[in-house]
């Protein structure tokens, strides 16, 4: 059973001051050190976002394709659905985050490397760290196998217009990509409308 205790440090010196809260516990005046949560979390590493916009829903379509060339960490992948008119023909639609083991290439689709946004404009170009970012239905080349990492769904008819495919804060795990290709791939039905895929990632440079 844990019990309240204390560590008695040397007498106060003349150096820098550590902020603390003084309170009486168990008959002793003790100090609890203040800890400030990092105001700029992970800001030591460059972070970026990429949005694949207006990607029409289509069975088995790759909506986003990412091939890292160094260790990158996924912060967030979000799917958001939109349409230009109401449709009674729409229905819930699933998306998967897929790891293509050993993949090195890509055919078709559109490179959107030039659309990668720096979350701080002082960051280096994303192409320094990422070899391929494509949308518009590319085909992954050279994969020896695939592994599904996550799944989510939106409802293209009514209701849930957004879904989170990966969220670092919710998963409380580091999701590091360092080889192969990762894709956001639609399941095997079409549904109706278009999606935007938002992907935020950082590069661990040290």
């Amino acid at each position: 059973m844990p019990t309240e205790a204390l560590v008695q440090i040397p007498p106060t010196g003349s150096g820098k001051k550590v902020r603390a809260d003084s309170a009486l516990h168990g008959g002793n005046t003790v100090l609890a050190e203040y800890m400030q949560l990092g105001p700029f979390m992970n800001s030591d590493w460059p972070a970026y976002s990429i949005v694949s916009a207006d990607s029409a829903l289509l069975a088995d379509k790759v909506h986003l394709h990412i091939a890292p060339s160094t260790a990158m960490e996924i912060v967030l992948i979000k799917i958001s659905h939109h349409h230009t008119a109401a449709s009674a023909l729409a229905y819930p639609c699933a998306f998967w985050l897929v790891y293509h083991v050993g993949a090195t290439g890509v055919s078709g689709g559109t490179s959107i490397m030039g659309s990668v946004n720096k979350l701080d404009t002082n960051n280096a170009a994303a192409s320094t760290y990422v070899s391929q970012i494509y949308d518009n239905g590319p085909t992954v080349v050279g994969a020896t196998s695939t592994q599904k990492v996550a799944s989510c769904a939106i409802n293209a008819h009514a209701g849930q217009t957004e879904a989170i495919l990966y969220e670092e804060k919710l998963n409380t795990q580091r999701f590091k990509l360092s080889s192969g290709v990762y894709t956001v791939t639609q399941y095997g039905a079409d549904s109706v409308g278009s999606i935007d895929v938002t992907c935020i990632f950082r590069i661990r440079t040290s």
């Binding site: 203040y34 449709s87 209701g159 957004e162 804060k169």
Partner: protein, 203 residues
């Protein structure tokens, strides 16, 4: 990984650090109590700008944040949310809203009075402005996207385009930079509110 411990010098005679004594692997060890600052970042000025009752429209810039040269401040985006409402029954469908950088502040627009989260905050320099319904700034890269459905039988009336707590990353707007919330290329139906929270800091 093996759990271990660091053995401190014997207790001295100075101030006392609060700790909890627990037994781990048959060793009595102390876990120091730290007080997490509840008001994170409270030493930095924090502001809110809310634009309400905005008319939807294809490619409308519902909000533009400008950090014009000379402010001598950086802006970090804390939270940015789009919420939709209607004043009558509407036949709606999912609509997209995008957070993007622009390479200028556009023209026109209506300035929003920015609120202080702490009334002791310094007034924002004149170079930092927030406006709604700005005309044609020049688009740069899109940072994030979200969607809402104003249909009365639908759902998802709000989308969070940025939340520092979730994204775990600062989104920084330096001097001479702009940030905008832009509707996609369909007019849609309903009414839009945009809530922006941001903090300022020196380099």
């Amino acid at each position: 990984m093996a759990e271990t411990y660091v053995q401190l010098p014997a207790d001295s005679t100075g101030s006392k650090l609060r700790a909890i004594s627990v037994s781990k692997n048959d060793v009595t060890v102390l876990e120091q109590v730290v007080r997490v600052e509840l008001l994170e970042k409270a030493t930095l000025a924090h502001y809110a700008a809310v634009a309400t009752g905005l008319a939807v429209g294809a490619n409308v810039y519902h909000l533009v944040l400008a950090n014009n040269s000379g402010s001598s401040l950086l802006i970090d985006i804390v939270h940015l949310k789009v919420a939709m409402n209607a004043t009558a029954v509407v036949s709606g469908f999912p609509m997209a809203f995008r957070l993007l950088r622009t390479t200028d502040g556009g023209t026109g627009g209506t300035a929003i009075t920015v609120s202080n989260f702490d009334t002791d905050n310094a007034a924002l320099p004149s170079q930092i402005t927030v406006k709604y319904t700005v005309t044609t700034p020049t688009d740069s890269t899109v940072i994030a996207s979200g969607s809402c459905n104003p249909e009365e039988t639908g759902g998802n009336t709000e989308t969070v385009l940025w939340d520092e707590k979730l994204q775990c990353q600062p989104l920084t707007v330096r001097e001479g930079e702009w940030l905008a919330v832009k509707q996609y290329g369909t007019a849609g139906v309903g009414v839009v509110d945009v809530t922006l929270q941001f903090r300022t800091r020196s380099e």
